[in-house]
Symmetry: C2
DNA sequence: GCGGATCGTCAGTTTTACTGACGATCCGCT
DNA sequence: AGCGGATCGTCAGTAAAACTGACGATCCGC
């Protein structure tokens, strides 16, 4: 076994072009990286990215039932139950029965939830900036616009095209 | 009770702007949608997106050990074991001991693997096109370029910056 | 030829999200 | 009234993906 030491470890070898040309790889790893940044940014507030998203939606729109919340976020309604369980345990949101339809729960932010959301949102925005840093200003705008176009084929009535797989 | 039927179900309500403005949401759901498309495109060949990516990398670069493969794909080496187990069970790749270092396995495509890859790659490319359809030609290029810039901060030695969390 | 590092493997765990089922409730119709 | 079908929230079980920690075999520098 002579000199097999040709180039075995000498090239650190990032991902090969065959991969960085594939949109699937790029999207997945970009998403992972941003999720990481977001998670660390949100950790001080005791919430993760998905929980933060729930808070945002609750804050953004008129009082919603759990199912309506789930639909808007593109998650399953059983997933939403667990999500709200978490947030309610942290006293950030509150369920209360919908007086108009007692099958439903109306979910709203608590005072603490509003406070936390304000701080968390700003921390998360900073993480997003860090994610985009080094990118020309206009590219960041492009990126959002293109992603919205690609995955938000919204039909006339405002409903999302793809039901909500997964 | 009276007329609570004001606007409860009348607005189908896609994702609110508060979400489609968040890069995390966009990236995640774009990735999910593409993964879905890719999965159905690859199903006829009995492989999924990750397995296809492994085949691509194996085909793209000189014979690699499992660890080198894992590094280039940004996955854990234990994940790679399971991945290759699958592909070997399907007779698409073959492990053979590296004659120069008997700790290592060199992984290569089988004849069937090469055939499958060729067909699968083309099917997957079509899925990617379907994903991008309706998008101006140049935007597709933009998207890839921006994603590569955002998540491929490659240091001088060619290694990826973020080790490989998750 | 010894000690530390590397590679592949395996078992166990975590995270995330889904399916299927169930009780409570609502709504249209008779 | 009240019956039947649909809807909402819930829970248990499951599946996929990926990680941690440990282990044996092997390599490499000294």
């Amino acid at each position: 076994m002579g000199e097999q030491s040709f180039t075995r470890e000498s090239a650190p070898t990032g991902p090969p072009a065959a991969l960085t040309n594939r949109l699937g790889y790029l999207l997945k790893h970009a998403q992972l990286r941003l999720a990481d940044l977001g998670a660390s940014a949100l950790a001080p507030f005791g919430i993760n990215g998905r929980e933060c998203a729930v808070l945002i939606v609750i804050d953004d729109v008129p009082p919603l039932s759990q199912l309506e919340l789930a639909r808007r976020m593109g998650v399953d309604r059983t997933t939403m139950v667990a999500l709200i369980d978490e947030l309610e345990a942290k006293a950030l949101v509150a369920r209360r029965p919908d007086p108009h339809d007692r099958r439903r729960n109306v979910v709203g932010l608590t005072e603490s939830g509003r406070t936390t959301l304000r701080a968390a949102r700003s921390a998360h925005d900073q993480a997003e900036e860090r994610f985009l840093e080094g990118l020309p200003e206009e590219d960041a705008v492009h990126l959002k616009r293109i992603l919205r176009a690609v995955m938000g084929p919204v039909s006339d009535d405002g409903r999302q095209e793809r039901p909500q797989k997964r």
